[in-house]
């Protein structure tokens, strides 16, 4: 065996560690390179699962688990302890499913938006629109609510003032405190905030499409719409499906922020999704209950993800896992 010193750059001294790393077979090198990330993944994603144990105890922060009474499945059962409570849970689940379903149905919006954006031929105008639509993503929901309040409050709200001045209505309409169309207004606010951001991935996918395809289509005399339909859309469908499958995995995780900011007594019946319900009921001082619910959520999410994945395998012949 010859010394592999020729591999080492001549101008640099041959350090011990460096040399020995070079001598390793590739599979170990790759493993060592991935190792730190495996460890971080383990620490941040698998280790916290040990916290599930709290769902089975009457845990209170500050008191060691060893001094805490073991209660078995009490907190899981308490989710449906009686009729009225069951109705509450069903109402909350209905909202959760509705919001997620609406979210998935409307997830074509950023796709359409990205295609339209990429078709804009004036670069400065395209950049302008993209920046303008991406910015709301960085505004917190509390501020979005403040904006909504200025626009839609009954007294001196911009919209009501205009409507009254134009003579469409005599008295202000309370847009924010109403139980009608809450799901639709919520999804509208959601896309107002995330449309530009959601389009970024698709824009990247569009850039990745081979330009020769378009040139070939030009030669064949394809119209602009034809090119979109037969080249751009098929080009970004894989990206769309990956995101779709992931969002199905997140079906029951709607998050808290948006609904927390917009909730009030009038719209609570329709706005209270599972995450908000857990926040409202449990988060103040009931960690075992919150843990129990999030455990169930994780299990359901995993189930949904794998279902969606195998559906994809069945229908499209490819899967992401």
């Amino acid at each position: 065996m010859t010394e592999p010193s020729i591999l080492v750059h001549a101008s640099k001294p041959k350090g011990y560690g460096r040399g020995s790393f070079r001598k390793l077979p590739n599979k170990y090198k790759l493993f060592l390179m991935a190792f730190p990330f495996l460890v971080t993944t383990f620490i941040f994603f698998y280790l916290p699962i040990s916290g599930w144990i709290y769902a089975f105890y009457d845990f209170t922060p500050g008191i060691p688990l060893s001094d805490t009474p073991y209660v078995g499945l009490k907190w899981f059962k308490s989710i449906a302890q009686n009729h009225t409570q069951m109705e509450e849970v069903l109402r909350v689940m209905k909202n959760t499913v509705a919001m997620s379903a609406l979210g998935i149905v409307t997830s074509v919006f950023p796709v359409i938006f990205a295609i339209l954006l990429s078709e804009i031929r004036t670069p400065w105008y395209r950049k302008f629109v993209q920046t303008l639509t991406t910015i709301p993503n960085f505004i917190s929901w509390i501020l979005v609510y403040a904006l909504a309040f200025t626009l839609f409050s009954v007294d001196n709200g911009v919209v009501n003032t205009i409507l009254i001045k134009l003579g469409f209505i005599d008295e202000g309409i309370n847009f924010l405190a109403t139980n009608s169309n809450v799901w639709l207004t919520m999804i509208a606010w959601y896309w107002w905030k995330s449309l530009g951001w959601g389009a970024i991935l698709y824009l990247a996918a569009i850039t990745g499409i081979d330009q020769e395809l378009y040139e070939a289509a030009d030669v064949d005399g394809a119209s602009r719409f034809r090119k979109i339909w037969h080249i751009t859309v098929p080009g970004i469908i894989p990206t769309f499906f990956v995101l779709l499958i992931l969002s199905i995995g997140n079906f029951i995780n709607n998050g808290v922020d948006q609904y927390f900011a917009f909730q009030n007594a009038m719209n609570k019946d329709s706005i209270e999704v599972l995450d908000l319900y857990v926040y409202n009921i449990a988060f103040a001082n009931n960690f075992p209950f919150a843990t129990a619910v999030s455990m169930l959520k994780s299990l359901i999410s995993i189930f949904l993800l794998f279902t969606a994945n195998s559906m994809s395998k069945l229908i499209r012949g490819e899967s992401i896992i």
């Binding site: 060592l32 460890v39 922060p61 500050g62 688990l65 449990a282 009931n286 843990t291």
Partner: protein
């Protein structure tokens, strides 16, 4: 071989890292607290220096050495400020004790979640301030996170003034939370004498009206809260729009303070009838009698208040944005002169009675109703429910105890009594002083500082900065401000000094004093015997607490009540109102209201028993 060694070495390092991460944060950080929080709490608490505590090098009353600066981390669940204490209070304690405070505020960093993370980390810092004595405080004792102040003679040697002046507070701490012998914390707003109302110049509630408009409509007599509605309607007709042309309303509510079972703004009239809730239960109890009612019953002023707001809404007196706006929006409306009624002196008068408005003859003043019997918190010899503790891992407990003790002495109280609830007096010789007869008076600089706390700059020799942020930011009131200072014979609170009360009244104050024949609102209620003082006693037993299952039901019921309360107020008509009310009653019953009620009654009995202890 080399490969194996490298691998083993790397694995070993990783395992060490993982183990370190586990042992620090695995029980607390799992739920939602980011890991940075637990590490931050690990590094900041604990005294930085540990001077030798045996020999006394510098002479002082306790014989402790103050030559080394002691940096204390204060974990306060009530503070609305985070970071090092600055300004005049910092200067005063630095000069006196060579102590610096660094305040960690859970309010500003995640609320209950932050408290849970701190508790789970096992170190709460050097000084801990609890907003109430439920849940967290007893749990911290059980978890061994707090120092027993009777150990090593801490209280006996360095807490002498507390032991001598407020022995009952120590007694309560021992019996209620210390298993009969240990002291893990001392209550707030302590008093040495148990009789009479403990409020300052104003009471907690009013109601206050726009005094100028009330006079213009002929100051009609008001017997009960419902009588305010026609009067307010007339006042609104007199001034339908404010100076900027925006609509005026009588009531403007806000929902972001809702919690503890109720719509926050539907309980004030109950207070004005001498009743108050027992927090987190379904009962309202009378301040000075063994009477209570279910707060969802017909006789309850919670339900009557909802009806009153419903009527007000029908009359166009209720701000239509009440449900969706936040507290800050309401404050802005008071400032703009768009509201005519205020439940509290600290809301209407505090925001509207600016020098300009007063000069124009406009302002809020208390307009009591005939049936009113104001609920008043009596002086509490056992201390309130707020608690100050020393952390179990505090490095120099003796100097901390000495400092806390001083805050309960006349010297400490004159400096900062009432911090968090009232404007503190500030440094002697700057904002106030003693006259030749030894009586306290507010200086001209003091008048300016108290009126405009944020914009008044202090001279460098008193610590600099503005008056507001220079105040004690722990947000803990050690001694009740209305307590009489044995050294001057007058209360600690500068608003109650004779020299302050007799200072030139403005036009509104003069006409008010003339009509009610009293100097202040408190004076009026006391003189006319329209006050119900709740004795602040203690049962001599551990307090009753809900078990976790009932707590959960209670919480759920509370959210239902809050939601329906708002729906009732904004119901379209009487018919819908009654239908919603029935729906609410059915729903809470289904969720276990009867169980909560049974617990509430036990809690009321406990309260009545406690009151006997101070009679």
């Amino acid at each position: 071989m080399r490969l194996k060694r490298t691998l083993i070495l790397m694995l070993a390092i990783m395992i060490v890292v993982v183990m370190a991460a586990c042992s620090k944060g695995n029980n607390g950080a799992k739920e939602s607290a980011p890991s940075t929080e637990s590490t931050a709490s690990d590094s900041s608490p604990s005294a930085s220096d540990n001077p030798s505590d045996s020999a006394s090098e510098s002479p002082s009353s306790t014989g402790l050495d103050h030559s080394q600066t002691l940096k204390l981390s204060v974990f306060s669940t009530t503070a609305n400020y985070a970071g090092p204490q600055i300004g005049w209070f910092a200067k005063a304690i630095k000069d006196k004790f060579n102590i610096e405070l660094d305040i960690v505020s859970s309010n500003l960093t995640g609320g209950d979640t932050k408290i849970a993370a701190m508790m789970a980390s096992g170190n709460l810092g050097d000084i801990v301030i609890w907003g109430d004595d439920k849940n967290n405080y007893p749990n911290a004792i059980k978890g061994g996170l707090l120092l027993d102040l009777t150990k090593d003679g801490l209280l006996d040697d360095y807490g002498k003034d507390i032991m001598a002046t407020y022995p009952k507070a120590i007694e309560k701490a021992k019996i209620a939370f210390g298993g009969g012998s240990s002291v893990y914390g001392i209550g707030n707003n302590v008093a040495s004498n148990p009789s009479g109302p403990s409020e300052g110049k104003d009471m907690t509630w009013g109601p206050d009206l726009r005094w100028d408009l009330y006079q213009k409509v002929g100051s009609p007599d008001i017997n009960s809260p419902t009588d305010y509605l026609p009067v307010l309607k007339k006042m609104q007709e007199l001034e339908p729009k404010n100076s900027q042309g925006k609509k005026t309303y009588a009531f403007s509510l806000w929902s972001d303070w809702d919690g503890n079972y109720k719509m926050t703004l539907a309980k004030q009239f109950a207070n004005m009838y001498g009743y108050d809730e027992i927090v987190d239960t379904a009962l309202y109890t009378k301040a000075d009698e063994e009477k209570y009612y279910d707060f969802l019953s017909e006789e309850s002023w919670y339900m009557k208040s909802l009806k009153l707001y419903f009527d007000a809404n029908q009359m166009g007196l209720l701000d239509p944005d009440s449900l969706t706006q936040k507290f800050d929006d309401v404050v802005a409306k008071y400032k703009d002169g768009r509201l005519l009624f205020s439940w509290f002196p600290w809301l209407g008068a505090a925001n509207y009675n600016t020098p300009e408005n007063i000069a124009a003859g406009k302002g809020f003043a208390t307009v009591p109703f005939k049936e009113e019997v104001m609920y008043s918190t009596g002086f509490n010899v056992y201390g309130g429910n707020g608690i100050i503790s020393i952390g179990a891992k505090a490095k120099d407990p003796k100097r901390i105890m000495e400092f806390i003790n001083w805050m309960y002495t006349p010297e400490g109280a004159m400096l900062s009594a009432g911090s968090g609830t009232a404007v503190p007096n500030g440094p002697k010789g700057l904002t106030w002083d003693l006259d030749a007869g030894g009586k306290p008076f507010v200086t001209d600089f003091g008048l300016k500082a108290y009126a405009d706390q944020q914009n008044t700059k202090l001279p460098e020799e008193f610590g600099g900065g503005d008056y507001y942020y220079g105040a004690n930011q722990m947000n803990f009131s050690f001694v009740v401000p209305a307590e009489v200072n044995p050294q001057t014979g007058e209360p600690y609170d500068h608003n109650l000094w004779e020299s302050s009360i007799k200072r030139n009244p403005n036009a509104i104050e003069s006409s008010w004093r003339e009509k009610y024949d009293a100097l202040t609102a408190k004076d009026y209620f006391v003189k006319n015997n329209k006050i119900a003082v709740a004795p602040q006693g203690f049962t001599g037993k551990e307090p009753l607490v809900m078990d976790k299952t009932l707590e959960q039901k209670n919480k759920l019921i509370g959210t239902v009540i809050q939601q329906y309360s708002w729906k009732l107020v904004y119901a379209k008509n009487e018919e819908q109102y009654n239908k919603l009310k029935q729906e609410m009653l059915d729903k809470v019953k289904g969720l276990g209201y009867d169980e909560v009620m049974a617990f509430s009654i036990k809690k009321a009995e406990e309260l009545f028993e406690a009151r006997k202890s101070v009679k």
